[in-house]
């Protein structure tokens, strides 16, 4: 029984490292996309996906250092990323983020 526990622990650690590397590579590629992105909507989508990847990073970190305190952080990053994406999308579509008066 103890052997099985040690084995699952090892599998968890290895998969965690693989996930960290994968998400780090994804973040670097997305940063490249943000920099070169042919059109502005491409950059907006890349930034949104970066937010999702950072959420995943925080979640993986809370698995790595065994704690549940980072759950609020994941939610917070998600909300702030959503607000940022919303502002960029509105800027791209209307050219203004907070309108003076709507109709």
């Amino acid at each position: 029984m103890n052997d099985l526990l040690a084995l699952t622990e090892q599998i968890l650690q290895v998969s965690l490292v693989i996930c960290f590397i994968g998400i780090a590579a994804s973040l670097i590629l997305l940063l490249y996309q943000v920099m070169i992105g042919p059109t502005q909507p491409d950059r907006a989508v890349a930034l949104d996906t970066m937010g999702i990847n950072i959420m995943a990073l925080a979640g993986l970190l809370s698995i790595s250092i065994v704690t549940s305190k980072l759950n609020d952080v994941v939610l917070l990053i998600g909300i702030l990323s959503f607000l940022g994406t919303l502002a960029i999308a509105k800027y791209l579509e209307k050219g203004v983020i907070i309108d003076r008066n709507l109709e």
């Binding site: 305190k69 980072l70 909300i79 607000l83 919303l86 907070i98 008066n101």
Partner: protein, 141 residues
């Protein structure tokens, strides 16, 4: 004239804004012993108000929330300074804090700390500063 269609944004904003405000209050109350505190709570509250501003425009939200956000900064700062000065009444050093266990009708036995009042001061200050910055930039012609 091209007219953007933001029906989805407006409908979800009326729901999401209140979830954000509730989460902000949770973060404000959860501080001191777990992640959270006045700063994050204020940041999230200003995020919720910003979401309403983005969805409904300046004039409408000014009618809904008739608060002068600049006025929140001195209120919050006086809260925070008052917490520090209050420690002189009990003849202890500046910004000393204490806590006690109280029995409230609905919540049962809870721990109340004077650091909470300081956090509320930080909360008001952050909301005031963030909204002032954002609205000042947005008003720029």
């Amino acid at each position: 004239m091209y007219k953007p269609n933001d029906l989805v944004l407006r409908t979800t904003t009326s729901l999401i804004a209140f979830i954000l405000l509730g989460f902000a209050i949770y973060l404000l109350l959860a501080g001191h012993n777990s992640p959270g505190g006045g700063f994050v709570g204020g940041l999230l509250t200003s995020g919720a108000i910003l979401l309403m501003y983005m969805a409904y425009g300046m004039e409408v939200v000014k009618k809904i929330i008739p608060i002068n956000f600049t006025l929140l900064i001195p209120i919050g700062l006086s809260f925070a300074v008052g917490t520090g000065l209050g420690s002189f009444i009990f003849n202890v050093p500046f910004l000393s804090q204490t806590f006690g266990y109280f029995h409230l009708p609905i919540f049962g036995e809870i721990e109340l700390a004077t650091a909470m009042i300081f956090d509320i001061g930080v909360y008001f200050t952050v909301v005031g500063v963030m909204m002032t910055i954002i609205l000042t930039i947005a008003n720029d012609q």
